[in-house]
């Protein structure tokens, strides 16, 4: 996967995040919730990677593990040359200014007892030795950037609307001039008319400051608008990773196809004509994922091989990565030799 263009700013290799389950009176370790189970992708500088999937698929966990808000179980997260997943604490602290996060719920992620100025300048307290005046100057600058009136500087979070609170969260993330920002469902808690305001702001900032985003969302149409490339996650693994326009025009993975067909298009003519793929049942528990392909219990195109062999993410068309036996074992269910080979790979995990 050599890119001709600029080197990627963010590279994630085989990231795993397992949460142990303890049970019984001795709190014995009885298993793991494999929230993220071997995820790899890269993001070029100045670009946006969309990460989509249903709740519980592990998309937020990817974002958090990448910034070491969780200690990843395995894998590498190389951001701007350093492997964040293995940095020692002090080096990690020094690294933090380059990577920031915008959280989903602006209500819960802002301290209700701090004023806007305190919230936005807290990262500056931690990482700079600026004077108060310098910090305040930076806070004003940030407020201008995100479109908050300077008069509001001493207000508390409850005095702001949802959209404004999310702007505060964005200003805080920008305070240390990061290069990479994880946006974890930043618009999910906002009303439709406010969502567009925040999305436009994120786009403007990206253009002006050359930011790189990982945009985590379940809103597929918003991701289409924002991202150059999109990764579709299912049960802790990436099902498909494709350039946005290819994915939306012609999804390859059956899950991506079903997910896209489930999106409600605001157009009654189209809605009446569209063929929907209705998936049966619910997402299985990540503590006890199905054998073989994660999606085999709900897949409308399931084959025998899917129930035993885990498909790897492989490039099936230029730039398009898909983890599905439909594409890797060319002859479908007759791909026996290949299956064997993959089986061995599966066992080494």
């Amino acid at each position: 996967m050599l890119d001709a263009g600029p080197a990627p700013l963010v590279q994630v290799r085989d990231l795993k995040m397992h949460f142990p389950i303890y049970a019984g009176i001795f709190r014995r370790h009885v298993g793991d919730v494999k929230a993220v189970d071997g995820v790899s992708f890269q993001i070029l500088p100045g670009q946006t990677l969309g990460l989509v999937g249903e709740s519980g698929c592990g998309k937020s966990t990817v974002g958090r593990a990448m910034l070491r808000l969780y200690e990843p179980t395995a894998g590498q997260v190389i951001i701007d040359g350093d492997d964040v997943a293995s940095l020692p604490p002090e080096a990690l602290r020094k690294k933090r200014p380059t990577m920031q996060m915008v959280f989903q719920d602006p209500q819960a992620s802002l301290n209700p007892r701090m004023t806007l100025a305190e919230i936005v300048s807290e990262p500056l307290d931690e990482h700079t030795d600026w004077s108060r005046a310098q910090k305040l100057e930076r806070v004003y600058e940030l407020m201008d950037q995100v479109g908050l009136n300077r008069r509001f500087v001493n207000r508390f979070p409850h005095e702001f609307s949802g959209g404004q609170r999310q702007r505060i969260g964005i200003a805080r993330a920008l305070a240390l001039k990061p290069r990479f920002i994880v946006c974890d469902e930043p618009i999910a808690a906002l009303d439709v008319s406010i969502q567009a305001q925040v999305v436009n702001l994120l786009e403007d900032l990206q253009e002006k400051l050359g930011l790189t985003y990982l945009f985590i969302s379940h809103d597929l149409s918003m991701v289409r608008h924002l991202a150059q490339r999109v990764a579709v996650m299912y049960l802790g693994r990436i099902a498909e990773l494709s350039p946005s326009k290819d994915l939306y025009a012609r999804p390859l993975h059956p899950y991506a196809e079903a997910l896209l067909s489930a999106v409600n298009e605001p157009d009654p003519e189209l809605a009446a004509r569209r063929k929907r793929i209705i998936l049966k049942g619910d997402v299985p528990s990540p503590a006890n994922p199905p054998k073989g392909c994660n999606f085999c219990t709900r897949c409308p195109k399931v084959m025998d091989i899917c129930k035993t062999v885990k498909p790897d993410l492989a490039e099936v068309e230029p730039g398009r990565m898909v983890a599905c036996h439909l594409y890797t074992s060319a002859a479908g269910s007759t791909g026996a030799p290949e299956a064997n080979e993959r089986n061995q790979q599966g066992e080494t995990r």
């Binding site: 149409s221 918003m222 289409r224 409600n264 189209l270 809605a271 929907r276």
Partner: protein, 340 residues
């Protein structure tokens, strides 16, 4: 949709206010609408637009000290819900009108089995015996597509997933064969693939049972796929009302138009930039004397500050029967002279 079908529900001039320490909030301002037999009426609006409060007012599901219904009529099959005594209303709730709430996680009682909760209305309203109710409960669970229904009856809500719980909520709402089903954002808390399952289920049930449905949502995509007719609410009043295709093809109110433009599409060309509705929805601390949308409207003129526009017909049909809009501005297509 087919023209004449009698109204099951006819609401006229509904007004609801909340009395708070900071003053009165005028949540629902003179809302009138009707619901025909077998019809699915979509109600769209942002949070705070009054869409849920309107529907909850009808069944008096709001906590009544802060909330107060100031006026209006709500005729359900000829009887006024708002004039009923509490006892009478109790024979309507759950029996004639079913309600599905937004959050399936919190609207089921965690300490009772599902069977218990489904059978409750059957025993109370339909005067069934326990074995009868049990048989009916199994039937209902099968109707909404829950496998292994008989055993599931003895399980508790936490043993069900979100989509399953919403199916159970629908089963409870359908238990007594209501004439009207009010669904308040029933799919908002669910994932898209589960949402698609529920929408499919509702389409099926509607064909099978033919009841009238009010579907409250903020998602125009859901409305486009399921509704026959749509009401758009803003500032506690109906700002536009039309059959679904007409509304999407020919939106008249600046708010509806803007709303349709702010959402990115999943097909077609990617928009270079999303259109934005600047500003915030109004806080309704006083009765409306001017158009509630004027502060965010790109077509604002003097009349908008002076008079709160009343609904006027776009296509000449009586208000509520065709396409109507509450706006002083005339979209380029239709150009009648002055407004009411």
């Amino acid at each position: 949709m087919a023209e004449p079908a009698a109204s099951v529900l006819e609401v006229r001039g509904l007004k609801t206010v909340f009395r708070t320490r900071g003053g009165e909030i005028h949540a629902v301002n003179d809302v009138s609408f009707h619901l025909r037999r077998g019809e699915l009426l979509g109600v769209v609006g942002e949070s705070g637009s009054g869409k849920s409060v309107t529907m909850m007012s009808l069944l008096r599901l709001l906590p009544m000290p802060p909330a107060e219904i100031r006026g209006g009529q709500a005729m359900l099959n000829g009887r006024d819900l708002l004039a009923m005594s509490d006892d009478e209303l109790r024979t309507v709730r759950g029996a004639k009108v079913g309600f599905v709430f937004q959050d399936p996680m919190t609207s089921l009682n965690p300490v009772f089995t599902l069977g218990n909760q489904i059978m409750e209305p059957l025993i109370k309203h339909m005067k069934m015996t326990k074995p009868q109710a049990e048989a009916r409960a199994v039937e209902l669970l099968e109707l909404v597509g829950i496998p292994d229904a008989r055993n599931r009856l003895y399980q508790y809500p936490h043993q069900f997933s979100g989509g399953m719980r919403q199916r159970v909520m629908i089963a409870i709402a359908l238990a007594c064969d209501p004439d009207v089903l009010i669904a308040d954002e029933p799919t908002t808390a669910l994932d898209v693939t589960i949402q698609a399952q529920i929408l499919e289920l509702v389409r099926e049930l509607r064909q099978k049972l033919g009841m009238a449905i009010v579907w409250i949502t903020h998602d125009l995509g859901v409305i486009a796929g399921i509704a026959d007719r749509v009401m758009v609410m803003y500032g506690g009043q109906i700002v536009e009302q039309a059959p679904v295709r007409e509304l999407f093809a020919n939106p008249q109110h600046p708010y509806t138009r803007a709303l349709l433009q702010t959402i990115p599409r999943i097909t077609g060309d990617r928009e270079a930039r999303l259109k934005v509705i600047e500003g915030q929805p109004p806080i309704l601390t006083a009765p409306l004397t001017a158009c509630p949308f004027r502060a965010r409207c790109e077509f604002r003129h003097d009349a908008c500050d002076a008079v709160n526009p009343s609904r006027r017909a776009v296509d000449g049909l009586p208000i509520g029967r065709g396409h109507d809009v509450a706006c002083h501005w005339h979209a380029p297509a239709g150009r009648e002279a002055a407004d009411a």
